[in-house]
Symmetry: C2
Subunit: 361 residues, 2 copies
């Protein structure tokens, strides 16, 4: 029978009901060390009876953990980031923590101000996604931060923090090799934001594969659908063999798709495409888009789990369950746009193992 209707029970109420001191309740509820089993029982009863839940604000003012995790992403509406965020959110929810999401729009100044804002709220940890870390003040601020930080999509060596990234180099190399196997006249790397870490790595992978194949790398940078149209026009080729395009991420792929649509050119007859990053409807395009698929869900979950391991007072699931690997393998998913015979079955390949998998119907 719960006591008072409208009032939120506080720790002191529990103490009174259990006929013990405040301190004993506090101890009982956090670890239960130094509490007689008798007192413990009465306290637990009172907690249940009153429906008591500790006030997190008071807890965090006192210096204990706040139960709030921050996450800074470039954008919430990009599928890659929102899937990451969703994975992180599910971990925080499992642990009864809260996730604060902030969009940086790829601006260091936003990252810095958001970070400070988060600190004022006593966050317990931060997940930083694809932040460029150019700004000196930002780097200093992060480096001396007392809250643990885990990165995603880019190493955080500048600030000495762990980060979860996909094997971008391998993925790009694998993709390029696949295109090479098709014997296209030329194979072009197309990127949208070449300054990003991931883009540089993927470019390295592309170059490496091209060098191995004895081909001259051709590298394009676009920033809009219109750019993509101009770029495609330049590469419209007389010969029979189509051009192979390696799109470095989903945005690039989207621009190219839109451009091929505008130009009414045929895929993969005139242009073959293979893209980094999977996306909605990729397998419904005509032809379905072959992609290098990142383990997005896994990146998010692992980052969150690693973060919790580093947050004092949030001991990991099974303590010492093992280190989280910081590099995750992408998969090559062949669907048709690369020029492969459009079959019903999708072929899949993992970067590290190179095993060939076949997925259902």
């Amino acid at each position: 029978m719960a006591r008072d209707p409208s009032r939120v029970p506080k720790l002191a109420d529990v103490a009174r009901a259990a006929k013990v001191g405040n301190a004993t309740v506090s101890r009982a509820l956090s670890g239960g060390k130094n509490v007689s089993s008798d007192a413990m029982k009465r306290i637990l009863d009172a907690v249940l009876d009153l429906g008591y839940q500790p006030n997190r604000v008071a807890q965090s003012l006192k210096g204990a953990s706040s139960g709030i995790v921050g996450m800074i992403v470039p954008s919430l509406s990009d599928m890659f980031f929102s899937k990451c965020a969703e994975a992180v959110e599910s971990v925080t929810r499992e642990r009864d923590a809260l996730l604060v999401l902030v969009a940086s729009h790829d601006q260091d100044t936003n990252v810095l101000s958001s970070f400070q804002r988060l600190l004022l709220h006593h966050i317990d940890g931060l997940i930083l996604v694809r932040s460029e870390l150019k700004n000196g003040a930002l780097i200093e601020g992060l480096r001396h931060s007392r809250v643990p930080i885990v990165g995603i999509d880019r190493p955080l060596s500048e600030i000495g923090c762990p980060s979860l990234v996909c094997e971008n180099f391998e993925g790009a190399r694998m993709a390029t090799e696949h295109l090479l196997a098709h014997n296209y006249k030329r194979i072009v790397s197309v990127q949208v934001k070449p300054e990003l870490y991931t883009m540089k790595e993927r470019l390295r992978g592309y170059r490496s594969a091209m060098a191995n194949g004895g081909k001259r790398p051709i590298e394009e940078i676009i920033g809009s659908r219109e750019d993509a149209v101009r770029m495609l026009k330049r590469h419209l080729v007389e010969g029979k063999l189509p051009v192979g395009l390696f799109a470095s991420n989903n945005l690039t792929a989207r621009y190219i798709c839109e451009a091929t649509h505008v130009l009414q050119v045929s895929i993969p007859r005139e242009f073959a495409i293979l893209s980094f990053d999977d996306f909605d409807l990729a397998d419904t395009l005509t032809p379905p888009m072959s992609v290098v698929q990142q383990p997005v869900e896994n990146l998010g979950r692992s980052a969150a789990e690693l973060l919790f391991q580093q947050m004092p007072g949030w001991m990991s699931r099974q303590a010492g369950e093992g280190a989280v690997p910081l590099q995750l393998s992408p998969q090559l998913v062949i669907r048709g746009s690369c020029g492969c015979h459009p079959q019903r079955r999708t072929r899949t390949m993992r970067a590290s193992s190179f095993s060939l998998v076949t997925t259902g119907d």
Copy 2:
């Protein structure tokens, strides 16, 4: 010259530096009422000098606002919701508040537990997206909540809170009328989660238009791509006229797209499609998908602004700037899948005004 390196300055530090009492600093920083311009100046100097920023945790413990807004969405990785969230986040960021995002996965129990968790963190307000509100305990909890709540995508009449929704009925009616104008043999409504408020409204709109057109409504419910395949097979028609499909949301449209792809049927030769909800790549499909576009960004921003208006201590931008309209008009965007001649230019129509707009190439 900032004082101490590693220590975060507190209000008392400012007071000391400015040679005034704590209370004066507090007053100066919140409204600046009852502070001599002389003291004010010294305080501001000290604040700048020390780089002081008020500790939000202490503020919220004291009972003032916490600067945290909660938002419960069914999913973070669905474009509709993540775009909403992004709009809300940009408003909270403008106001120096933080946005906590929680995924409910359409489960009332999750909504309830998340709501309680949010309350323990003293959130200032809540945005509730498409919650079904079946659970009695949830309704009670929300109704008696002392924090303002604003809904999105579904009215919140059960708990007496305002909500921003799209004119679903009008949008669906408009879409169906458009399909009717094509004179298809039959026009079928397809839905994925008929129990949702939006789906019911859209069904009403569909029925209304069908009744007006003197046609018998045909209503399908699917839950997967396989369902869509079976559904399409059933409707494969002998005659020349294709079947017109009204997909009630983007997920429905996706299933149908995948199904047409599997069945290798031609759009809009055999099946014409018009979908509620726009989505990435909709205009890159073959043929591009005609859709009823919701003003997602606007829904999010308006909901957030309305919420801030209701949060004590966060007076709205220009006080009394006017009431936020709770109904927003969707737009009909014709791209080709409905059977219209695939033109370069996209035709657009707003639900309320029915003006015909033409958007550039």
